[in-house]
């Protein structure tokens, strides 16, 4: 269900009157204090650390090579080996250790989530800042002809079109065209989700452009690029980071949905989403097989959501809880 996020956040980005003061960046210490007091932050941070650590240290944590097929260890007449000392979570139908698979698939899942999300945030930042600030610069050609380059409208129209596509369908269609590969899946997800971030940043930049510090910088003669880079960017970065961290949860869920519908990563580089996709048929016969990757997805997404929510509540005064 992607494409949902931006409307809730669009609402939030539409600051009501009286929030002008609240736009002032909260002091770092105040942020830290409210963060530390929030139990959601601690739960989220711990879980995220655990998940990321298990992915990073997978080669050391995994008891076996995840691709090795232990065919002889599968009991006769069974389709897979149940949990045992040798295989803490059992094996899959090909005899591959499930724990090792989960750990390595976690790497791929986080990879996709991180890459897709970073790409989306980056693209969204660039487009949002440029569109919000540059607006329609006038280009003066030799000979006296002048016209305005509709940068803002152009970029925002592009965003409109991107938002108009039903995201999941678009991603599926793109994958069927480009083929299933881990890198491509990340790019596809980013291509579909960047518009959310762009809209958000654009809205915020619109509000910032008339602030004193921008006018002051202009008066000092700083060029457009300079203003964008040195003044606007620091102001929108917190916003980007907050929604970026929430975005990881969205991208992981999106990847899982894509995989479930058969348009995710290839069979050779499994993610939790593709593990779930392949094992759905065993839900009623050997629930361990689909449930383990599903729980992994759930816990990871929950962790990032909790963490992201906590950071957002601390940083964005609009939704401050006190």
């Amino acid at each position: 269900m992607s494409g949902r996020v931006e409307h809730a956040d669009f609402l939030i980005g539409d600051e009501p009157p009286g929030a002008e003061e609240a736009l002032a960046p909260t002091s770092a210490s105040r942020t830290r204090r409210s963060l530390v007091r929030d139990p959601a932050f601690w739960v989220g941070a711990t879980l995220v650390t655990l998940v990321v650590a298990s992915a990073v240290f997978a080669p050391w944590l995994a008891p076996h090579d995840p691709t090795h097929q232990f065919r002889r260890e599968i009991p006769l007449g069974e389709l897979s080996a149940p949990p045992s000392p040798m295989f803490p979570l059992g094996t899959d139908q090909l005899g591959r250790d499930y724990l090792s698979q989960l750990l390595y698939a976690g790497r791929a899942t986080l990879f996709v989530g991180l890459v897709a999300n970073t790409l989306a945030v980056f693209l969204g930042l660039v487009v949002g800042i440029v569109a919000g600030f540059v607006r329609s610069p006038r280009l003066r050609l030799p000979g006296g002809l002048a016209f305005s380059v509709p940068v803002e409208s152009g970029l925002m129209r592009l965003t409109d079109v991107g938002l108009a596509f039903p995201a999941l369908l678009l991603a599926m269609a793109l994958t069927s065209v480009l083929g299933r590969s881990l890198e491509l899946v990340s790019v596809v997800i980013a291509a579909v989700l960047w518009t959310t971030m762009a809209r958000l940043i654009y809205g915020r930049v619109l509000m910032l452009r008339s602030r004193e510090f921008v006018l002051a910088a202009r008066a000092l003669g700083t060029g457009n690029v300079g203003i964008m880079r040195r003044h606007l960017l620091p102001h929108v970065l917190p916003l980007a980071l907050v929604y970026g961290s929430l975005g990881i949860a969205t991208t992981i869920l999106f990847e899982a949905a894509l995989s479930f519908l058969g348009a995710g990563a290839p069979i050779d580089s499994p993610t939790w989403g593709t593990m779930l996709e392949r094992q759905t048929g065993s839900l009623t016969t050997d629930p361990r097989l689909p449930l383990l990757p599903a729980i992994a997805i759930f816990v990871t997404v929950l962790a990032f959501n909790l963490l992201g929510d906590a950071i957002r509540d601390a940083v964005d005064p609009h939704t401050q809880r006190t």
Partner: protein, 542 residues
């Protein structure tokens, strides 16, 4: 005039009518009229109900409810007459088939008789399959099945409207002349492509899909796309009345849910092959013992190898032989929960011509390595394409691991079946393909011509090995004209051996289809080797 008379008369009439109405249905039931609703579920949609187009295991049983052919199969693989009164007279040179049509066969639409069937209708129907102007698109099998009819080429390329080899001699006699003897022609007539439609059906399959007119035991009552097709027993059917009063064809019911419905008795037949994990669970469960039906099929799963790709190690026959020795087929069968038999050569056990002695490449990793060394190939990378079903993925990964042992690094690429078809029919696009082949009729030629002939080794063809041996091609073409199958078998077994020497493909296993049915289903003893279900013979109890 007695005033009481009208009233008495009215009363009597009312009494008589009510009695008649009460007795009527009872009398009908006592005669064993079709009753009850039989539900069969499928994971996919109906391709088309038009016999010239429908070509999958969902459409065919449906077409066979509404339409009929000149000849059909009995409970096994023997041909018997259906719309023909008796088996045709075949001329000595094997070129002319003369059919005498059965009398008393009517076309039915929506349960109402339209008119009797005539020989002209038969001629029209067969021409229709050849016509390139059929809407929305022409039949996929014009050449494949009916090219041997004299004058068929002219119809196919649009220069003629009807084939000169199709003649209605009189109201009840159809004469078909072939351009060359073809033993399999009569098998082609038994496929639903040989169904008889009325001439008024025209050449628009969309119309005939919505409003089919046929001679079969059922007629189409309603069709909701992607949901349900309802077939009702034809009260004017010429043959034995079918058992079930209504057949509900439930579409797009996911595999797992189809199984659960059959288990719970909410549907009567699970039209899809049981998913492997569920088969694993129910195969030894006594509760389902008499509801589980297995049928060994006229099919085989195989790994095709692009044998003519330039500069590829795969073009070396020793490499292909090594690959054949390296694949652990026991493991593959285990992945399929043991549903099937290991295939060492092309022909499946159910096929006339099956050669149990044909086993040129037993599992032998050492021999495989030796062959690779002999070919001077250290190792190389390649891609294996297969579809996205769970089992296909597992089989592909099992083979990838096997081939890794002899130095071949295999990247497994899965694509949806329709996409896959498009990929593997482009020459040399897919070096290795793991796929299945299901025969259309019980004749060995059907395992050779479509997938291993030179004619099929072109863009769009099914010869994904891109393998062509003109000698074997000629031999196979000659074998096709041998009129009796018993005489043809030794020739085909020789062809099979010769093909296997070159290993354009590695046969893996032969499928066994498994169906789960409800308790109240009657009339099903064994699945049919070709049709799987003979829905018109099944009924529901209670």
């Amino acid at each position: 005039m007695d005033r009481r008379f009208p009233r008495t008369a009215a009363l009597t009439a009312a009494l008589l009518t009510t009695t008649a109405l009460a007795i009527g249905p009872v009398a009908a039931q006592e005669e064993g009229a079709p009753s009850g609703t039989l539900t069969i579920t499928f994971d996919s949609e109906v391709d088309s109900l038009d016999p010239a187009l429908g070509y999958d295991f969902v459409s065919w049983p449906a077409e066979r409810l509404i339409y009929e052919t000149l000849v059909t199969y009995d409970e096994g693989t023997t041909l018997v007459p259906q719309l023909a009164e008796r088996m045709p007279e075949i001329s000595d040179d094997g070129l002319t088939y003369t059919f005498t049509l059965r009398e008393g066969v009517d076309f039915v639409r929506g349960g109402e008789v339209v008119r009797p069937m005539t020989a002209d209708d038969v001629v029209f129907s067969l021409n229709r399959v050849l016509r390139p102007d059929l809407l929305p698109h022409p039949s996929p099998v014009s050449e494949a099945f009916f090219a041997s009819i004299a004058g068929a080429d002219a119809v196919i390329d649009g220069s003629a409207e009807t084939a000169e080899g199709l003649q209605a001699l009189d109201e009840r006699t159809v004469q078909i002349t072939l351009s060359a003897p073809d033993r399999t022609f009569i098998n082609a007539l038994a496929t639903p492509f040989g169904s008889v439609m009325p001439m008024e059906a025209g050449y628009d399959a969309t119309e005939s899909f919505a409003d089919p007119v046929g001679t079969g035991p059922y007629y189409l009552e309603s069709y909701t796309p992607g949901e349900l097709a309802v077939f009702t027993a034809n009260p004017h059917y010429w043959g034995d009345a079918p058992e079930a009063g209504t057949i509900d064809y439930a579409l797009l019911v996911p595999e797992e849910t189809g199984v659960q419905e059959a288990m719970a008795g909410e549907s009567d037949i699970d039209g899809d092959n049981l998913p492997t994990p569920i088969y694993q669970q129910v195969k030894d469960d006594p509760a389902y013992a008499d509801r589980l039906h297995r049928q060994s099929q006229l099919s085989f799963q195989y790994l095709s190898i692009d044998s003519s790709a330039e500069d590829s190690p795969l073009s070396d026959v020793r490499v292909r032989q090594a690959m054949a020795h390296a694949i652990d087929k026991e493991n593959i069968l285990r992945l399929a929960a043991g549903r099937g038999t290991i295939a060492n050569c092309l022909f499946p056990p159910e096929l006339p011509g099956f050669d149990a002695a044909c086993d040129p490449y037993p599992y032998d990793v050492d021999r495989a390595k030796a062959l690779m060394a002999e070919a001077g190939v250290e190792g190389f990378s390649t891609q294996l394409y297969t579809d996205t079903s769970e089992l296909s993925g597992l089989v592909a990964e099992s083979m990838a691991a096997d081939l890794a042992e002899i130095g071949i690094d295999v990247e497994v690429i899965t694509q949806d079946f329709d996409t896959l078809l498009g990929t593997i029919t482009v020459p040399h696009q897919a070096p290795l393909v793991s796929i299945g082949w299901f025969a259309d009729f019980p004749d060995p030629s059907n395992f050779i011509d479509p997938i291993l002939s030179c004619a099929a080794a072109v863009e769009g063809g099914a010869n994904s090995s891109w393998w062509c041996d003109p000698d074997i091609d000629t031999q196979a073409a000659e074998a096709r004209s041998i009129p009796s199958i018993e005489d043809a078998i030794p020739v085909y077994q020789d062809i099979q051996r010769r093909i296997m020497e070159q290993v354009p493909l590695v046969p893996l296993y032969n499928d066994t289809w498994t169906t789960l049915t409800s308790e109240r289903l009657t009339g099903l003893d064994e699945l049919h080797p070709i049709w799987l279900w003979e829905l018109a013979k099944y009924g529901v109890d209670g």
